[in-house]
């Protein structure tokens, strides 16, 4: 229960942050990705602001085995840079550049009642489903 409440809080603050920052607006995102046009560097400030806070949080987290609510710290263990990571990143980046949506802003725009965002999110979930199917058939083979 505590875990879910903290998750709800984190999700809400994350969403509000995306709205404040302008990232929930795909045109703003595309303005950042369009370096050859009139470039809007704002999104670099979003990343900068988030990482400023994040660096401190991870420095605190690194020294702990339990979270402040008493849960085990579940940190990523892989530091392997492989083909999956890069190809996956490239695929994601192409999709990001086509629509101006990454997963978080897509979900926030869906919550704002945007039909187009709902279509994007449905396709994204379908894509994640396709990934699951491929992974499972690979695991069997």
């Amino acid at each position: 229960m505590k875990f879910s409440l903290a998750s709800l809080f984190a999700g809400l603050v994350f969403g509000l942050g995306l709205i404040v920052s302008g990232m929930a607006n795909p045109e703003k995102v595309l303005g950042f990705l369009d370096i050859a046009g009139a470039w809007d560097p704002s999104l670099a400030f979003v990343m900068g602001g988030a990482i400023m806070v994040g660096v401190v949080a991870f420095a605190v987290a690194r020294k702990r085995t339990l979270s402040f609510l008493g849960f085990h710290m579940k940190m990523p263990t892989s530091n392997h840079i492989d083909k999956r990571l890069i190809l996956g990143g490239l695929m994601f980046g192409v999709g990001w550049g086509i629509a101006g949506f990454c997963p978080g802003p897509g979900l926030v725009a869906l919550g704002a009642g945007e039909t187009k965002a709902a279509v994007f999110v449905a396709a994204m979930v379908a894509g994640m489903g396709i990934f699951e199917v491929i992974e499972r058939s690979r695991a069997k083979a």
Binding site: A10, G11, N25, W39, A57, V108, F131
Partner: protein
Amino acid sequence: MIEIAWNNFTPWSALAGGILVGIAAASFLLLNGRIAGISGILGGLLSPAKGDIAWRLAFLLGLIGAPAVWVLATELPPIEIEAGYPALIIAGLLVGIGTRYGSGCTSGHGVCGLSRLSLRSLAATLSFMAAGFVTVYVIRHLLGV
């Protein structure tokens, strides 16, 4: 030569929003001991383990519910989606498959991964940023859409 769109440039709200995103990721990390990676939280619902569903739904409810909470205080800023439906479907499929295949998106690799100084996440972030820049260049400047 890079030309800056000064009239669209919003460094203060971008920074403030970024700090909020950072606070969200920090509270998720320090309260629950987890990485706030949105594609992972959503994608994990498609192969859920026992006891692993409620918190994912709660996080997503917060994220999707953010605009509803926002409008209690003030009007939502504009959300301009220029892409047509076929483009949105292709983009969604690519984002869905790509983020799962590459184990993360802008939040997990970009915000959290760079914050914990992970080289793996840096490589992922450089990959999706580069692909994003190239894609927009091709669409806007080569194809002229």
